[in-house]
């Protein structure tokens, strides 16, 4: 009888939760397959490299990525550009350094250990330059949103005409996937906006996917190492568990036989 009651309660909870959940209406994110998902998930180097290109040519005008250093671009598990390539990338930025011996701040070309240079000198100027909305820092953006990569991927393709009768506020755009459907960021991706170095066709979908992958890597630069180590750790623990289990059985068989 108790078991039946238990089942009854469980069903009740499910009914409640599904009933309650149904009241929240939200457009599900566009489905795509992510290379980094799963136990053996790894980033696709091509996607990361193209994603960096999209970031640097499109996003970086407004969005900072301040937790990353230029050196990360050649380190293992990332886009893995060649070190010369990254040196060039770093040198193309002006890094504020100093003070020098005269007490003056000066700018110099970026070097590998430098953090990525922010597009704006401070948050206030970023807000002022973008009509009152702060373009969020992208370092951990993919972890700062629920289902981050899918969210970014969908959002970038979510600019559609607002439904009939929808009143859009001044200076905002309609986006299917944004909370509240209003977003300050204009639609930035158009087909063939960038010219990929590896010859991949730069469709909006492709660019959105590449940059989402890149941002996931930016947020989780140790993801590949984590998956690799995790697999080994769990394998080890399972073997150890088996050994201990059989040892335990052997030990306890003494007690049981005494009975």
């Amino acid at each position: 009888m108790i078991n039946k009651l238990k089942i009854f309660f469980v069903i009740l909870i499910f009914l409640f939760s599904s009933g309650l959940k149904a009241s929240e209406k939200k457009t599900p994110f566009i489905d795509t397959n992510w290379n980094f998902k799963g136990i053996f998930g790894k980033f696709d180097r091509g996607e990361l490299r193209r994603g960096y290109q999209v970031y640097s040519e499109v996003c970086s005008g407004c969005h900072s990525i301040s937790q990353l250093s230029y050196r990360n671009l050649y380190e293992k598990g990332g886009p893995e550009f060649s070190i010369e390539n990254v040196k060039q990338i770093a040198a193309s930025f002006d890094v504020l350094d100093g003070p020098n011996s005269d007490g003056e701040m000066f700018t110099r070309p970026g070097r590998l250990p430098d953090k990525f240079v922010d597009p704006y000198p401070n948050i206030e100027s970023a807000i002022a330059a973008n009509g009152g909305a702060y373009p969020p820092d992208m370092s951990v953006l993919a972890k700062a949103r629920k289902d981050g990569p899918a969210y970014i991927y969908s959002l970038l393709q979510g600019y559609v005409e607002p439904p009939k009768g929808y009143e859009l506020d001044e200076g905002v755009y309609y986006n299917k996937y944004m909370d509240g459907n209003q977003i300050k960021m204009p639609n930035v991706l158009f087909d063939d906006l960038v010219e990929y170095e590896d010859g991949t066709k730069a469709t909006t979908e492709q660019m959105a996917k590449d940059v989402s992958n890149f941002l996931m890597w930016a947020a989780e630069p140790n993801l590949e190492e984590r998956h690799k180590l995790g697999f080994r750790v769990i394998l080890y623990l399972i073997i150890l568990a088996l050994l201990v289990y059989f040892s335990m059985n052997r030990l306890w068989s003494r007690i049981e036989s005494k009975k």
């Binding site: 250990p113 150890l240 040892s247």
Partner: protein, 200 residues
């Protein structure tokens, strides 16, 4: 990385001690086995061995986190502009958190340093071996005794003098008198061009 191996060895020693202690802890169980005539079992040994390996592997990240991290390692080179240094003047720059003395020596200093007899030196080294260009002396400003920063132009040899325990260095940064055992060390550096030195 020799330090890592040293640490690893220490861990292994600790593990052995740990194993020994746990052995004592379970020794009554082994006595029991002897009484019942049971032989020591492959299963138990394998469990212990595998457990010890895992424990060692788990300790490593906790130890390794204290080694220099990726951002510290990346900062290991510093470029210095030396175009503003006049003859007979020196500057001190920071490299890996330590002072580096860069001195543009006068002709007299160079000649004096080069003509010092090696027999007079506590840690014999030719001046030529201590510089890449005779005009430029680049060395770590850390006393080899206990790590204080020596003062320039002071001491019995008018080179450097460490105020902490009275070590006297000559104009080539070689130890002449006092408790320090060796000359001021020369960091790895190169001339990128005539006006720039890259240290590290």
């Amino acid at each position: 990385m020799s330090s890592s191996y040293l640490i690893l060895t220490t861990i292994i020693i600790f593990l052995l001690i740990f194993l020994y202690i746990s052995w004592i802890f379970i020794s009554n169980e082994i006595e029991n086995k002897k009484e019942t005539g049971e032989r020591r079992d492959f299963l138990y040994t394998a469990s212990y061995a595998l457990g010890a390996v895992g424990l060692g592997a788990a300790v490593w990240p906790l130890v390794d986190q204290m080694n220099p991290d990726a951002s510290v390692k990346a900062l290991s080179t510093t470029e210095v502009d030396i175009s503003n240094i006049d003859v007979g003047k020196s500057i001190t720059v920071l490299w890996r958190g330590k002072p580096v003395f860069i001195r543009r020596r006068t002709q007299e200093e160079i000649i004096e340093s080069q003509n010092t007899k090696l027999t007079e030196l506590k840690d014999p080294q030719k001046d030529q071996d201590r510089v890449k260009k005779p005009e430029w002396l680049v060395m770590l400003g850390v006393c080899t005794h206990l790590g204080c920063v020596p003062l320039g132009g002071k001491g019995d040899y008018k080179g450097w003098f460490c105020p902490c325990h009275g070590s006297h260095y000559d104009k080539s940064g070689r130890i002449r008198k006092g408790p320090a055992p060796t000359n001021l060390p020369i960091p790895k550096y190169e001339f990128v061009d005539n006006n720039t030195i890259k240290i590290g």
